[in-house]
């Protein structure tokens, strides 16, 4: 790779402006096509039969009656998705999650599926499938599942990461540990110690668009899949592997995506749709209902976390410790591990230790949700940090500033930080007018910090210059919130042309090389890097063509502001050639002009945010109202500041929902009781105030423009910021998220 990704400190013409997004008009006129908006001739309707039991052995499935129903074209069970995973445990789990094999592991677990001529017939056919279940005891609570007496989900699981290999199987799949120094020594030096236990309930990403796809498998073994996904290349790999296809024979087109937030990063129904299509010999459309989305896709972990932090009288933290237990659903995960890594990442700590336990429960397979695992850990830690500041008698902002990590600090998860933004976000918060605004009765202000790693990853971009000088940019990272606008700005910047002359599209898997998915806040970071690289490759060709036209050495041609310029006195008579002029002549100078880039965009800069919020609590009912909210976050460089603000606001809103009302509620029978937007309560418009944002730009040294990821960090601080605000408003420390009115009222009553 000749591409130099280092930050160059340049000034910008296009980057940092706020143009209208290229896919905008289609989206405001209803023409944009999402997962469920695509149809094929002769298409069948696919529907999935799901387990009503939290935990049950599947003795037998009789599909004969369903198969005989007129209009039914295919019925499948796990037998139609044989295990081709070849010892790949993670893929096997995905397969088993797509279609239960020997056991149903949660309420909503798929056990069979049908394809029929219409929805009514498909629905009827589901009722004709007879499943003989042997209901088993279940466990849905993370702490309960860790007990020796808990029902076992998988007796082949022996906890990894223990010093001695356990003799008995367990629901704990793994123990992980991070940290440095000696916490015993550290706590010995502390004048004040705060120790508390916290719980957070399970939440769902809550994207408004249910999972949807259209699968078409041909008898020649090739296939097409239209699907809403955060990563069509990853979906292609997963589906091809699970169905025993060659990846190149499966073309996956990503539709417009109606929200993902991590929930559309691995396959759910897509292999089922492909298997149905393969069996029926016709295209199959499979769209989840909202009930299915909640019961069988998504959610994040439920957690139980113990935190202990000690500090000296002068406000220096001497030791910090956390034990984090995260539910994974029925399959092994690494959610507690991520929580353990992020928990204390904001602070400069000499003695720190975090331990994570991954816990199996009879709930849907945990999926990533925006900075996965970090918000819960931050809730616990930032609540304890606030309490500790109070005990010492320090302002919570000053206390955090005193202990904030900085360049050269060894992070709690291991490596030493480069230039980072936690200190600047805290300083910005300290001087923000929000911090000085007056508060009324029963009102409180809280603040909290958050951290997320940000990812890079494999990325591939094509930049094609048309004969008219306009540029089409094909990217492979799905656009979840305006990245086509950002990437067009980057292409325009690099080429020195106007934004309007660039059109960015998301290419299908047959038109572009492999791309990792849009996750880990990598979309704009990675694809902008590949776009810059592709543009620079195109510029090299543009210079060559100009040199050829002028018949001078290419070394004497430079590219400035969208023009080839012959450098040097001797070329004074050569007028600059515009990109448009060079493109118009391209047919005669060597053919089409394009720039390509295939790279691994590593070096995504870590990201920090600090949030402030004001809350009013009704002490008679426990009802809360968010009065004011401010987000301060480091973006590295905001390519399209409006969409950066949008990411900050959206993450904050999701965090507010999580903090106050959102939770999976299971009955004693292990069934999910609130699988709809009526009782899974995401914030509505009237629940929220305007969300103020302040973008800080501390350049990422590993990106030419200094870009960091911005998508995820904003969901990390709200849980703690709101808990701290509630504590300041009515004097109760909330340790259980969500802080729903019954929980707050119960806490208040207990105080009285």
């Amino acid at each position: 790779m000749n591409f130099d990704p280092r930050y160059s400190g340049r000034s910008f013409t296009s980057v940092g402006t706020r143009p209208i997004r290229p896919d905008g008009v289609d989206k405001v006129t209803g023409r944009a096509r999402y997962g469920a908006d695509f149809n094929m001739a002769g298409q069948l309707v696919g529907r999935v039969l799901r387990s009503p039991h939290a935990h049950a052995k599947i003795r037998k499935i009789d599909t004969s009656k369903a198969e005989k129903l007129a209009g039914v074209k295919a019925v499948i069970t796990a037998a139609d998705l044989p295990d081709l995973t070849d010892g790949d445990a993670a893929m096997y789990d995905i397969l088993d999650n797509c279609m239960a094999r020997t056991k149903a592991l949660y309420d909503g677990h798929a056990v069979a599926a049908v394809a029929a001529v219409d929805a009514r017939t498909a629905k009827q056919a589901l009722k004709l499938i007879e499943v003989d279940y042997e209901v088993l005891p279940h466990v849905t609570d993370v702490d309960e599942a860790m007990k020796h007496t808990a029902p076992l989900l998988n007796d082949a699981i022996f906890t990894e990461g223990l010093e001695e290999k356990p003799v008995k199987p367990s629901n704990v799949t793994k123990r992980t540990q991070f940290g440095h120094g000696d916490i015993h020594e550290g706590f010995g030096q502390a004048d004040f110690v705060v120790e508390r236990s916290f719980k957070t309930e399970q939440t769902h990403q809550g994207y408004i668009e249910p999972h949807a796809c259209v699968a078409n498998v041909s008898s020649d073994g090739t296939a097409d899949l239209w699907v809403c996904t955060q990563g069509h290349f990853v979906y292609r790999q997963h589906c091809a592997q699970l169905l025993g296809m060659e990846a190149s024979k499966l073309r996956v087109t990503s539709s417009e995506i109606g929200g993902g937030f991590g929930g559309k990063t691995h396959v759910w129904a897509e292999p089922v749709a492909l298997a149905l299509s393969r069996k029926a010999g016709r295209p199959v459309k499979l769209v989840m209902t909202r009930d299915e989305v909640f019961r069988a896709s998504g959610p994040t972990s439920a957690t139980s976390i113990d935190v202990r932090i000690g500090a000296r009288k002068d406000g220096t933290i001497t030791a910090a410790e956390a034990t984090l237990r995260y539910s994974c659903g029925p399959y092994a995960g690494m959610w507690a591990e991520i929580g353990a890594m992020t928990a204390f990442a904001c602070y400069k700590l000499e003695n720190v230790k975090t331990v994570g336990y991954e816990v199996l429960v009879n709930r849907p397979k945990t999926a990533a949700y925006r900075a996965p695992s970090a918000p819960m850990a931050a809730f616990a830690v930032e609540s304890a940090v606030d309490e500790l500041a109070k005990e010492i008698g320090m302002d919570p902002v000053d206390f955090r500033i005193r202990n904030a990590a900085q360049e050269g600090t060894r992070s709690s998860y291991g490596p030493v930080y480069g230039p980072i933004g936690i200190g600047p976000t805290l300083e910005a918060v300290k001087s923000h007018p929000h911090m000085k605004a007056p508060l009324g009765k029963n009102q409180g202000r809280g603040m909290a910090c958050g951290f997320w790693f940000n990812f890079g990853g494999q990325t591939c971009t094509d930049l094609n210059i048309g004969m008219d000088g306009s540029v089409s940019l094909a990217v492979g990272t799905v656009d979840v919130g305006g990245s086509r606008a950002s990437l067009s700005l980057v292409a325009a910047e690099e080429l020195g042309i106007a934004y309007e002359h660039v059109k960015a599209v998301v290419a299908d898997t047959s038109s572009l090389g492999y791309n990792d998915m849009t996750d880990g806040s990598r979309g704009t970071f990675s694809s902008s890097m590949a776009t810059i690289s592709a543009a620079r490759n195109a510029i090299k060709i543009l210079r060559e063509r100009a040199a050829q036209t002028w018949d001078i050495p290419v070394e004497d041609v430079v590219w400035e502001k969208g023009h080839a310029i012959a450098k040097g006195e001797k070329y004074g008579n050569l007028a600059a050639l515009s990109l448009r002029e060079i493109a118009a002549a391209s047919g005669k100078t060597g053919g089409p002009i394009a720039g390509h880039s295939e790279l691994v965009a590593d070096g995504a800069g870590v990201s920090f945010a600090t949030h402030i919020c004001d809350i009013e609590v009704d002490p008679e009912t426990g009802s809360t109202r968010v009065l004011r909210y401010t987000v301060v976050q480091d973006a590295g460089k905001a390519v399209h500041p409006t969409y950066v603000e949008g990411q900050y606001q959206g993450g904050a809103a999701q965090g507010i929902g999580w903090a106050l009302n959102e939770e999976y509620i299971y009955g004693k029978d292990g069934r999910l009781q609130n699988s709809g937007f009526l009782d899974y309560r995401i914030p509505v418009c009237s629940d929220l105030p305007m969300i103020d944002t302040q973008i800080l730009e501390i350049p990422n040294p590993n990106h030419p423009y200094g870009v960091r990821g911005v998508g995820e960090t904003s969901i990390v601080p709200p849980l703690a910021a709101i808990a701290n605000a509630v504590s300041n408003a009515v004097g109760v420390r909330m340790t259980h998220i969500p802080m729903s009115p019954p929980r707050i009222l119960a806490a208040l009553e207990a105080e009285r």
């Binding site: 209803g30 408004i208 929200g259 909202r290 606001q649 904050a652």
Partner: protein, 158 residues
Amino acid sequence: MAGVAVSTTINGDNFEYLCQPDETLLDVLRDRLGLTGAKEGCGTGDCGACSIILDDRLVCSCLVLGAEAEGRRVETIEGMAHGDTLHPLQQKFLEHAALQCGICTPGFLIAAKDLLAKNPDPTEEEIRFGLAGNLCRCTGYDKIVRAVQDAASVMKGA
């Protein structure tokens, strides 16, 4: 099951279709008439993504039967712009970046259009409560509210 023959007006054009008695108007629009601008986010009236205007009333088309449209006037997102001229709300949603993923946008635009038709000069609170039936998971609503405020001032001036 006998189909129901329906004659209705959608975005000013006459339509005739045959639908099942239990088929929702949303399914008719999307699956029979190819008008996929209205989205199904929940199917239970909780998200507003399928919002349409039925005889001057804002409704969720997932909670209306296709058969009920007989003799009535239906307005959908597809009829909001005049030719290639966007409605001021559509324009302001673009300018304010009031959409990220965009799945809720058609529903918000229809609901906002209905809101401004009934209340041309709403306060922020009236906008927030007026649009509470439309869920957005991406934006935190901030830019949506601002876009509606801006569109309202433009429309008053027009």
